[in-house]
Symmetry: C2
Subunit: 274 residues, 2 copies
Amino acid sequence: MKRSDRLVAMTHYLVEHPMELVSLPFFSNEYKAAKSSVSEDLAIVNKRFQQEGIGYLQSISGAAGGVRYIPQFSSNNSEIFVDELCERLEDPSRLLPGGYLFMSDILGDPSTVRNIGRIFATEFSDLEIDAVVTVATKGIPIAYAVASFLNVPVVIVRRDPKVTEGSTVSINYVSGSSRKIQTMVLSKRSLSEGAKVCIIDDFMKAGGTINGMKNLLTEFNAHVAAIGVLAEAEDEDEERVVDNYTSLVQITNVDVKNNQIEVHKGNFIHNKGM
Amino acid sequence: MKRSDRLVAMTHYLVEHPMELVSLPFFSNEYKAAKSSVSEDLAIVNKRFQQEGIGYLQSISGAAGGVRYIPQFSSNNSEIFVDELCERLEDPSRLLPGGYLFMSDILGDPSTVRNIGRIFATEFSDLEIDAVVTVATKGIPIAYAVASFLNVPVVIVRRDPKVTEGSTVSINYVSGSSRKIQTMVLSKRSLSEGAKVCIIDDFMKAGGTINGMKNLLTEFNAHVAAIGVLAEAEDEDEERVVDNYTSLVQITNVDVKNNQIEVHKGNFIHNKGM
């Protein structure tokens, strides 16, 4: 195969297999090329990926070595994307009774959701996450987007047990906003003991739901290494019960009377420098 | 930018923007290259994509023309993938009380789900779908995978209304397996009038749920152009109420007593020839 053909095939392969260690002999065999040519190809791909701000190729030397595509979204790309998101969210027609915000259209757009996932995956790429945990329903698409870049499975906590889950572990918790007792269940075989996980959700006020997930996860001896929420908002009645999280946007000053919302960048920018 | 760099950048761009019309001047400007060079690059990408069995570039001529990446999963790729899926599903440890099958691990794996989406998107790529509709919870990841390849939004029907959906339209329907009256709701502003949609779900027995979605969609004057289910199984008590659908696998002979399941390829293979 010619270099030009190999570059197309390899770029596609790497983009479709993020975080996966690929050996040089695999490419060399797949594309019928000498290892030295493959190395040169990879150097070209690596340089280009970095310049596009979409990640880099990590080289692992030794017999079990190879390359791994680490997807990243550059600070610049992330900021442009989140600025746009803030603008879309500030549209007053999104305001719903009770000061809630309509976001289903944004969460329904696969390419937007994919970029949201890209930013969280960039933040969490060093944490050796084993699984992404979310709670039904709205967090699911974001969780899959994050998981696809981290190349790990998604585990979905449900509000209602279903026969198709097999045996489950469940907890009761008090939801922040409604003060009602709610239930969360997780299929027993969905998560292995002692897994390192990140929690993803679309929206956080006081953080009762996320706290509930944390409690449920202790039943699996899971270690919560990171928490990511698309949007955070203040809860007037209750203090936040979750303190270590990454948010993309912050919703402030929801003024139902004057039909206005203010949306700012979340704390992901500060985390960046760490 | 050199050809080798352009090929990497363009491949990435096209893979991340399926079904989107990209003008030659866009590439030419983005990568500082003559239009003739860009045309040659695209010919290389197109040939390679076809040989990898992952789709092709469609050229649209004229002033508003350009190229569009149509993702496809070749019959060969699809069959290999579905054969593997059948094997994984035949594992007797998946059997649950009532003859149900545990599939959460498969549905939790982003790369498996992405390939499932790729097959449906290949089947439906000519239908000019405006949106992918699914019902919470298990169908959601598949719906996003399909939608990401078709470059259209996902619309999620819920079993329970939520304040964050705004005003909704709801219907009651009788579920095939439990004969219980159930409710489905869809946010009013989630789907525009007269949209052409495909319905995606993880599992279908008699098809009551899908039929419910079809009824709900008539309230939006939507046209259901296609139905895709990951797995279909026979319902012993009830005849199927949905007849035009694409399935990837067929679950037959669930023998709880002898702890055996048979899983075969679904009807997507026959549809292929059409």
